[in-house]
């Protein structure tokens, strides 16, 4: 199977590091030179093309068909939903959690202000729990919000929880468990067999989802 007709958009940061490791583990040549600022690597017979972009742009690039597939965290997909893409595999790396945290291990009492960069995830969560909140959108340094009195609680992403601890914050509950997801353009998933081939190549054997994954086109259709 040749990959000359497939492109994957990959989110910068932890997702890209994990993808490189998975990519090399599967025997695919990794085209990205870490010292270079190049963001686009054309597909070749032995590997798909790679397009490096900001995480929140990945669903847009895949949905519009600029890339056939994308690798991005579930947290991003939940925060920026896009009906034009399909989630086709849990790649089982870049594990992290979106959590509610505060200075005390106590569920908010009464209407509460929440500082977060995950406005949609946070609002949906508190809607489900029928708890009135005021969402304060911040794009970074969320841990400071309770310390400086901006908001008593934050909804943020954590990996080990060290940053929270350093700011004397306590995880109250996990809202979402996230990991790297392979997403596909709906049209390409159903019309280009190479796209399913990439999923099969990249799937992580340790992932319980992938051991039973059963979707996708079968055989050549073109």
């Amino acid at each position: 199977m040749s990959y000359h007709n497939v492109t994957i958009a990959i989110a910068k940061g932890r997702i890209m590091e994990g993808t490189r490791s998975l990519w090399q583990q599967k025997g695919l040549p990794w085209p990205v030179d870490e010292d270079s600022r190049q963001l686009w690597f054309a597909p070749e017979n032995e590997r798909p093309g790679v397009l490096i972009a900001r995480a929140r742009d990945i669903p847009t690039l895949v949905g519009l068909g600029i890339a056939d597939l994308g690798i991005v965290g579930l947290d991003v997909l939940e925060e920026y939903p896009n009906t034009h893409v399909l989630q086709v595999a849990d790649l089982n790396f870049a594990h992290c959690r979106v959590v509610l945290a505060g200075q005390k291990n106590q569920w908010p009492v009464g209407p509460t202000r929440i500082a977060t960069k995950y406005q949609r995830i946070a609002q949906n969560y508190f809607n489900v729990h029928r708890h009135p909140v005021e969402i304060l959108p911040l794009s970074g340094s969320l841990e400071l919000a309770p310390v400086i009195g901006l908001a008593p609680y934050i909804v943020d992403i954590v990996d080990t929880g060290n940053t929270l601890r350093q700011h004397h914050l306590i995880e109250i509950t996990t809202i979402l468990k996230s990991s790297a997801r392979l997403i596909a353009n709906q049209s390409h998933w159903r019309t280009k067999p190479e796209v399913e081939q990439v999923r099969r190549t990249l799937k992580n054997d340790d992932s319980p989802m992938d051991s039973s994954a059963n979707f996708g086109p079968k055989g050549s259709i073109l």
Binding site: L64, S187, R190, P217, I221
Partner: protein
Amino acid sequence: MDEWLNQNHREYELMMMVINQFLEQGFYPVPTAPAQAGHYREDHTQSILELLSSFPESHIQFPLQVFSLGPVYDPGYGRWAETIDVEILGSGGSRHDLLALELIMRLVATWPNLASHTLMVMGHVGLLNQVLVTESVPEITINQILAYLRAGNLVAAESLMTHLSQASRQLLLSEPFGDFLENLRKSLPQADFEHLSQLEQIVHQHVETRWDLSLTGNWSYYTDLVFSLYLKDVGQPVLNGGRFALDIHGRSWQGIGFTLYLDPLYQAVRQEMGSLMP
């Protein structure tokens, strides 16, 4: 600037050409508003039915063939898409499925190259539901599976179906009709195979088809046949549609409809337009 103006002119011509086809085939235009009560229109069907629901039931003769023209808002990209939405309303059921597909295929046949550049994927929410019931999946889980599939989350949907038989799971693959039928006979021998063959026949003589029960359409009102006509290698659908049932202000509506996306259609047929315009 001339190039830009000419392109706009040709896109407008294309829209008029398509509208004329629908008018000639007895469809009535229904003017719907692109925004209402602070909400942008994301779908014509609901707007059309809200307007029609303002007439007494006794004033409406079924089947009623209507279409609505104009942009729909796509919140995924925060942009508007020019569309024509076509509906065949009434209780014609499977007979209307055939009518809708014939209408689409007549449109596809207008541009000879369009057929070779497109691929029709057909799904069936009703069949998927029956397969899951036959496999003893609880109703609450079936609803979750359908919600996940509508949201495009195949990973979550799959996690709820790991105990299904191999034949049933195969139905969620994109397959040619022959392979799909073979698995369907194993999972659901009581299905209406004659009707499915008629649907396949209408489409397959014009465009390549695949069947895939993981295709459920994005709207929760789809009840049975759903379909998407995709442009190969472009990554955009030319049209999406399906059979639906919808309650509007206490009145039940059923029918089959589809949304035609004019920008991808123009991209696909612009080379051919010059020779085929009157």
